[in-house]
């Protein structure tokens, strides 16, 4: 089932790019058109392969089954992804020195990664080490504090 979804997504992406390329000069559109044709061909091949594989499966119930991860895995993964997005936004708005320890502390505490004092120590050491290397040594102009 996953293969079928991937193939369908690939066809949609290829069609979007192909449609966009239609407005370009002939030379500029040449390679994108070639690649999208190949993509559509491969996606159709993947669909055919999936259909052939289904023909060999006799059990009707398992034929179209979509393997889903367990609920705790989905929950942990979603919370972590949300924290990553929040951190990416926060680092440019409230600055590295607040956003980084906040992200590390929240993600490590939520994941119950280790003992609380080790979490505190990890957040402090990582924030400081990256600040020393990237800001102090490499002179990276990352915002350190909230924008006024």
């Amino acid at each position: 089932m996953t293969r079928l979804l991937v193939a369908l997504a690939a066809i949609i992406i290829a069609l979007i790019f192909r449609n966009e390329a239609a407005g370009y000069p002939r030379v500029a559109a040449q390679l994108p058109k070639l690649i999208t044709s190949v993509m559509i061909g491969l996606a159709l091949l993947a669909i055919v392969q999936q259909l052939l594989a289904w023909r060999q499966v006799t059990d009707g119930a398992s034929r179209y089954a979509l393997t889903m991860p367990s609920w705790p895995r989905i929950r942990d993964g979603s919370v972590f992804v949300a924290l990553i997005i929040l951190y990416a936004w926060a680092i440019t708005s409230i600055g590295y020195l607040i956003a980084t320890p906040a992200f590390l502390l929240s993600s490590l505490f939520i994941a119950r990664a280790t003992k609380p004092w080790i979490i505190l120590l990890t957040a402090a050491i990582v924030t400081l080490a990256i600040w020393v290397i990237f800001v102090n040594f490499l002179r990276l102009p990352i915002p350190l504090f909230p924008r006024i």
């Binding site: 996953t2 293969r3 979804l5 991937v6 193939a7 690939a10 992406i13 290829a14 790019f17 966009e20 390329a21 370009y24 000069p25 030379v27 500029a28 040449q30 390679l31 994108p32 070639l34 690649i35 999208t36 993509m39 491969l42 996606a43 091949l45 993947a46 392969q49 052939l52 895995r73 942990d76 993964g77 972590f80 992804v81 990553i84 997005i85 951190y87 990416a88 680092i91 440019t92 590295y96 980084t100 992200f103 590390l104 993600s107 490590l108 994941a111 119950r112 990664a113 280790t114 080790i118 990890t122 990582v126 990256i130 290397i133 990237f134 040594f137 490499l138 990276l140 102009p141 990352i142």
Partner: protein, 515 residues
């Protein structure tokens, strides 16, 4: 000219700063490789932004030695925890872990380290001799042949990648498509940029690969945790405790060294050959070498019980892959694996574009990289002897602590490339795409290699069509490109059921004739 570059490269690599970079790279690589779940590719991608401020040769020496260090580091977790630190160390588990269980963890790691040295040195000698020869040959190639080489590299990588070959090819095609984002090289037309100025120069390759190799890994570390690290199930006799101390001697004796030499050399040759084939990597080489060692052995029954040749073979092979996979990367500009693709990204951030001119226009830097691989093998042996015991503490770091740290490094690294906030979001976009692809069992290495080869294909296609007056037959007028394109077509066909159907048909015909 290549001889003088060879000398310049040797002189460059012996610069104290470069030697320090090699020692540091092997040390960091060994520690990262020892952490189960962290790959050599991710280590190189994360440390790539650090090398911006270095001279190109110093940065590349650091990255190449990190790659080698991670290859050996993977065996530490494999031997002590029964969890391979990198996929390339999976075969080492079979004999490494039982030997460690017998109280000989030091011996297992010492044999692994020595085999890595032999395999690595062999491959770097091949790299130093074959890459310049191939590079000189490729200099005669024009855009028509370069287009054919890029197409062949792409199709082989796609069709040989793990999982479904069709999905591998599809991932490669998606990478090529994303590689066309930006200004068209001939007309200057912005393509698929959504009027975003940050995309006019194309997708920043380094940003994309930091996302593709780091973010999915970090999410997996958080989701999966580290249950497998403390106790290992499905071992004979139920749960088996992992090893947390090295009590015995690490270095093999002179006699043991001589005994392991033929196996190491044979496995090293296997590693070099496997590394040469784009799309295959350390994992393929180590399983191949393990099977060959078993086949050549007079004591086949001892394999799987802590037999040292079972450690030597995969370790010599997976370190030899490094030199082998660098040959097409450097000579042709086509990366043989995702790790060499990231190394190529290291060249690109220093303004050195992949392609046949790597050995001439940027000869000094390229030859320094070749020598760095040679010296990194020696450095790895020294660093390994000194710090392997310290690596055990790294294997105890909980995975859930490592995941968020990877994210911080990825976000800072992505910003560091162009000092651009847009790159942070682009990196995360590629990261989530990589996670989605991984979850759907679509291999990501072909996508990365497609991203590199996209612009190469674009330029060479347009130049070739100009040469051929707009006719696609130009690719079949040159014998070299015609042969390469036919092989590429065959490699696509082998990903389809066509060959299987032909085989079944032939068998049916044969059986009907016999009956």
């Amino acid at each position: 000219m290549p001889d003088s570059f060879l000398m310049i490269g040797l002189i460059n690599v012996l610069d104290p700063i470069n030697i320090a970079a090699i020692l540091l790279g092997t040390l960091i690589g060994m520690f990262i490789g020892a952490m189960p779940g962290l790959s050599a590719t991710m280590a190189i991608a994360l440390l790539l932004p650090l090398t911006f401020s270095f001279r190109p040769e110093t940065g590349l020496a650091l990255l190449a030695s990190l790659y080698l260090g991670a290859m050996y580091g993977g065996s530490i977790a494999a031997i002590l925890l029964r969890t391979p630190g990198t996929p390339a160390a999976a075969a080492t588990v079979i004999d490494g872990f039982p030997l460690a269980q017998q109280g000989k963890a030091g011996k297992a790691l010492g044999f692994s380290l020595t085999a890595s040295l032999i395999g690595g040195l062999l491959s770097s000698i091949v790299l130093l001799t074959v890459a310049p020869l191939l590079g000189a040959l490729v200099l005669n190639f024009g855009p028509v042949q370069i287009f054919a080489i890029a197409v062949l590299g792409m199709t082989i990588i796609g069709s040989l990648s793990t999982g479904s070959a069709v999905l591998g090819l599809l991932a490669g095609a998606l990478g090529l498509l994303l590689g066309t984002i930006g200004m068209d090289p001939t007309t200057g037309t912005p393509r698929f940029t959504m009027d975003n100025l940050s995309l006019f120069g194309g997708v920043p390759f380094t940003v994309a690969l930091i996302g593709l190799f780091s973010v999915p890994q970090a999410i997996r570390l958080i989701v999966d945790g580290d249950k497998a690290k403390t106790m290992t199930e499905d071992a004979p006799g139920g749960m088996v405790k992992t090893v947390s101390k090295i009590k015995d001697r690490m270095l093999p004796t002179g006699r043991q060294f001589i005994e392991m030499l033929p196996n190491s050399l044979r496995s090293g040759v296997i590693g070099v050959i496997v590394g040469l084939i784009p799309g295959t990597g350390g994992d393929t080489a180590s399983w191949f070498a393990y099977n060959e060692a078993k086949r050549f052995s007079r004591e086949k029954e001892k394999f799987g019980t802590g037999h040292t040749p079972g450690i030597v073979a995969p370790e010599a092979a997976n370190n030899a892959v490094v030199g082998g996979s660098l040959i097409p990367t450097i000579a042709l500009g086509i990366p043989g694996s995702s790790a060499t693709a990231v190394l190529l990204g290291g060249l690109m951030v220093h303004g050195i574009l992949p392609g046949p001119t790597l050995m001439t226009d940027h000869g000094a830097v390229t030859y320094t990289l070749l020598w760095a691989v040679f010296f990194a093998n020696i450095a790895l042996f020294v660093v390994g002897i000194m710090f392997t015991r310290a690596c055990i503490s790294v294997t105890k770091i909980p995975n859930r602590v490592v995941g968020p740290v990877i994210i911080v490094l990825s976000i800072i690294g992505a910003f560091a490339i162009n000092n651009s906030v847009f790159d942070i979001w682009l990196m995360l976009g590629f990261g989530f795409l990589g996670f989605l692809l991984d979850s759907c069992k679509v291999p990501t290495p072909p996508l990365v290699i497609g991203l590199i080869l996209g612009p190469v294909l674009d330029t060479s296609l347009q130049q070739s069509l100009l040469i051929g007056g707009g006719s696609w037959m130009v690719f079949f007028e040159s014998k070299i490109s015609a042969v390469l394109l036919v092989i590429a077509f065959l490699s696509i066909l082998q990903a389809t059921p066509l060959f299987r159907w032909i085989g079944i048909g032939l068998r049916r015909v044969r059986s009907s004739q016999q009956s």
